[in-house]
Symmetry: C2
Subunit: 584 residues, 2 copies
């Protein structure tokens, strides 16, 4: 089979203004960026206010493995399948970070014959939204260090006289806003800034700091959760950047930097319209992490898509314990709109990898055995799939299991997996279909599409696990116990103190976002399958007042990846015709 | 008078595809980014190969002062003036950095009725080129630290076995590639990266590093100097990132990262077409510093403009000792094309500020006296203008002095300045005209435009000061002595050693780029006017093998500005209609 970029380049794409027209997006709603991508103005929602909404299909997956389950391939393939069976459909996906593109994972445009195109545009700068997030985020960081420096240099009183500004009296030890970069740059995780050399211009006050990857910026979460520009501006103003020497929060509005940050993001708030290889309209917008943030495509993009289509297919990051949980508890409550159906992506080899019977390491060659029939591993791994189906059922969602078929998979094993799903009673509507979207595009996803249409006709009874009016502690316990099936949470002393502080500061009504490894349902990446009876440790809480949630660190969570020994960037280059090669 | 952004918003602009059409840019050469900006494909040059070139007008200025001389206003105003007198004209300017936009200076789109529009697009992300430079630059930085870490962790031999790559054996003390960010972020000038915490994931090897502003990246100089995509790719491959433990250079090609960097920049190599408020086509491209780099618009943009117009008006950074010197010695030699005429921008108040009779500080209120007639200061300051005219004359260029008139300026003093210019014999063609382009647009620059047309009809005798075949030391001495009028250069021990090393490494044929303060003709910002008899100290040399020059640090050169006490970002916000306010 041809490489992803070759397939993409060999496909005749439709001019984006024609895609827009067919979709019902008028020229005045559109700002084309070249002939194959265009920004869509959120103001379109005013025009469409009275239109009924279509169905919202949320694609999620089993616990991720180093093999990749093909969630984006399934999202794009399902969208193409729905179009094949005559439905009006829009896919909504997140913008890929350049970190993984150059690092281990490669691109995130789907693959094979189920891609968003042109994949090199999607995987690189696209329309610059992540760059805008990076720029707006780092402006606030520069502003904090500059203010700290100027107030310190002149003293608070003199600073006030010189500038007619109220001194912020920033506590140098309580600056909570780090810097960000859209690269996997391990060496920036922990740094010292403001170093000085004797006899030279002063470079500010020395302090410890660090960089996260841009997807981890609270601004990225805000971009994905904002209802419109005014809402985004207000949320940015509420971001807590630091605390003053009396322990009071200093917001972006306090620093008078929120306006400039919003200005920097005023194009990024517009979703980007592209198409799949089969011409299905696709909205790309925002790209929040699925651990320290909610990991789902944007509310604005979903709202536009729901108004313009019968089916909106969107995707949550990682497994259903992460992206789906946050889609239902954080995003749906802020959007006031829940999904109508969950599609659960699983693969034979992914389930076997979840059996715990194989020793798999990222970047290392895979054991051949995992591609061969192995009933023991499949049965053991099935526990993980069961857990994730039951998890989706807790939110009242009908579930369609999408078995993403790989060429090596045997018919017998696929039939066995189907039978195993059908033999269970999950207490909700469950169907199962095999998808061959990678190799066959929409034609390979027709059975899946039909199953999804039927599932969406089931009367849905969506409900989040908690209501925002509960306390933060109650909400944390609910996700841990009801959501994850743990025996409860174990709060560190620090977390207990922070819970009390957050309550005192009036943040008890925010949502909670549990930040843990995606590689296990628990906080421990080595625990596979469908564990029970564990206690979820909450080490520390972090306030995202602008995004509207508090995230709880459960175990080590990496917010700045590193480049591997032999990174993906090594394969990238331009050929003699100036075409990009080596991107997948 | 209305604010710059208000004037811009109240002007009816022409759709960019119409601007392109009138300019002779065909739809297949164009990638529109919205309706008011478009990327122009460098492949247009193949189609235009047989067309004759127009005249190249280089706008430069006296020694800059905190008052601002209005060089961009004059560049845009002159372009509009040339259009008014019936000439086909294209302006070529650099992309503004967001650092100054949010910091002290504000935007760089010109001002009043001589602006590039929409100014908020130009001043913010534009089409993302600076972001692409930042991303490509920092990818290489992440790649170095990652490689250092992996080779150290496994040992050279084991690393080679694991990866089948040749170990680079990077000398941790000789990594010469810093990181960059497009903000004024003082605290990042000097940092420590790779800090580790006991018991946690390793974050790499601890070492001192720092950030420059993105305009200071060698990639920005490369973008501005490349002839085409293939040339850019080859130049990136030659960039020296670090040295190994044997003292040998490690290039971006050695690290296998040059391809990915070029891929990251493959849209940035296309200039962006915009328009002035009067519809004059303007190409925006690259934005290299004028001290550690050559500070001029790109060769690609100039080449396209020269093929499509009778007059290409471009601009060099800072005074003629900086931007014009480098335009003539670095850019013109690489482009094999020199300017036909220099426009020297001066203001009454700027000359008075150059008299040394006023104590002016950035960010502080100006003394009222400087706006009133002051013959003594004007006569003293005139020495600076004389120096700059003579400097341009050294390159065989006819000179038109553009006196940029401010509302407070008196007719008598303007007449006196004109007479002072006319009374001198500069040994070249010199004319003088008053420009009122800020308040009147092109109508205010008709006299200037006519003077420029006449000057361009003068037989030009352009010649750079040195030839690339001279040694680096000879070239440095030539710029210092013949260019600046110093008594020579004073090489530090380090610089002497570096000259020998660069020669041994085969870099003696590169151009030289003198990095010094723009605030004086000397290396000392406090020395005003037209000093003579000074020695230029060369502290250190830095190799830019990809850009094709060696830069020499003469005095302190700041490559990462800081935010002031009351930065420009404080005024920026969105109004209730979602429009940007507070940008100038």
């Amino acid at each position: 089979m041809k490489s992803d970029i070759q397939i993409c380049r060999d496909t005749l794409l439709t001019p984006i203004d024609q895609i827009a027209q067919v979709t019902g997006i008028k020229p005045e709603d559109l700002t084309p960026q070249g002939s194959l991508k265009a920004k869509v103005k959120p103001s379109i929602l005013k025009r469409l206010a009275d239109k009924p909404e279509g169905k919202l299909v949320l694609v999620t997956a089993i616990t991720p493995t180093p093999l990749g389950e093909g969630k984006t391939v399934t999202t794009i393939g399902l969208s193409q399948g729905l179009a094949k069976v005559g439905k009006k459909v829009i896919a909504c996906i997140r913008q890929p970070s350049m970190g993984p593109v150059f690092g281990v994972k490669g691109g995130a445009a789907g693959g094979g014959y189920s891609q968003v195109a042109p994949m090199e545009k999607l995987n690189l700068h696209l329309t610059g939204d992540i760059h805008a997030v990076t720029a707006a985020h780092n402006l606030a960081a520069a502003a904090i260090d500059a203010r700290l420096y100027h107030e310190e240099r002149h003293g608070y009183e003199q600073f006030a006289r010189r500038t007619e500004l109220t001194p912020l009296r920033i506590d140098i030890n309580r600056i909570v806003w780090k810097r960000v970069m859209d690269h996997n740059d391990r060496a920036l995780r922990k740094i010292t800034v403001g170093l000085n050399e004797p006899g030279k211009t002063i470079n500010g006050l020395e302090r410890e700091d660090g960089f996260d990857i841009s997807a981890a910026s609270e601004l990225m979460a805000i971009l994905a959760l904002s209802r419109d520009l005014a809402d985004m501006r207000a949320r940015i103003g509420r971001i807590v950047l630091a605390y003053n020497i009396d322990g009071q929060a200093i917001t972006a509005d306090d620093l008078h930097v929120a306006g400039a940050m919003a200005v920097t993001l005023c194009e990024a708030i517009e979703p980007t319209l592209m198409q799949t290889l089969e011409g299905v309209p696709t909205l790309i917008h925002a790209g929040p992490f699925a651990n320290i943030a909610h990991g789902n495509s944007s509310i604005i993009a979903d709202r536009i898509a729901l108004k313009l289509s019968e089916f909106t297919v969107t995707e949550g990051g990682f497994g259903s314990d992460m992206g789906l949980e946050k889609a239902c508890n954080i995003k749906a409550q802020q959007a006031e709109r829940g999904p109508d159906c969950a599609v659960m992506v699983a693969t034979l080899r992914g389930l076997k990898a979840n059996s715990g019977l194989y020793d798999l390491r990222p970047g290392q060659p895979l054991p051949e055995a995992i591609f061969a029939p192995d009933e023991k591993a499949l049965v053991a791994g099935f526990e993980n799939l069961k857990w994730h189906i039951r998890n989706a059922a807790k939110y009242g969602l009908p579930v369609v299991v999408a078995i993403n078929r790989f060429p090596q998979d045997s018919d017998a094993e696929l039939a066995q997996l189907k039978a195993m799903v059908n033999a269970q009673d999950f207490g909700t509507y469950v169907d199962v279909a095999i998808s061959e979207a990678f190799g066959k595009g929409g034609d390979g996803a027709i059975a899946l599409a039909r199953a999804v249409v039927t599932a969406c006709e089931t009367p849905a009874d969506f409900k989040p696990l908690y209501s925002l009016s509960q306390t933060l502690e109650e909400k944390l316990m609910t996700v841990a116990e009801v959501g994850y099936g743990s025996q409860g949470i174990e709060l560190s002393e620090r977390a207990k103190q922070q819970l009390a502080e957050l309550k005192a500061q009036g943040h008890d009504n925010l949502a909670v976002c549990l930040a843990k490894t995606p590689l296990s349902i628990t906080h421990d990446p080595s625990v596979k399958g469908a564990p029970r009876g564990f206690l979820l440790p909450v080490r520390e809480l972090k306030l995202c007042a602008g995004a509207g949630f508090v995230y709880a660190l459960c175990g080590n969570v990496m917010t700045m990846p590193g480049l591997p020994e032999k990174p993906a960037y090594m394969a990238l280059d331009l050929d003699d015709n100036g075409n990009i090669v080596g991107l997948s």
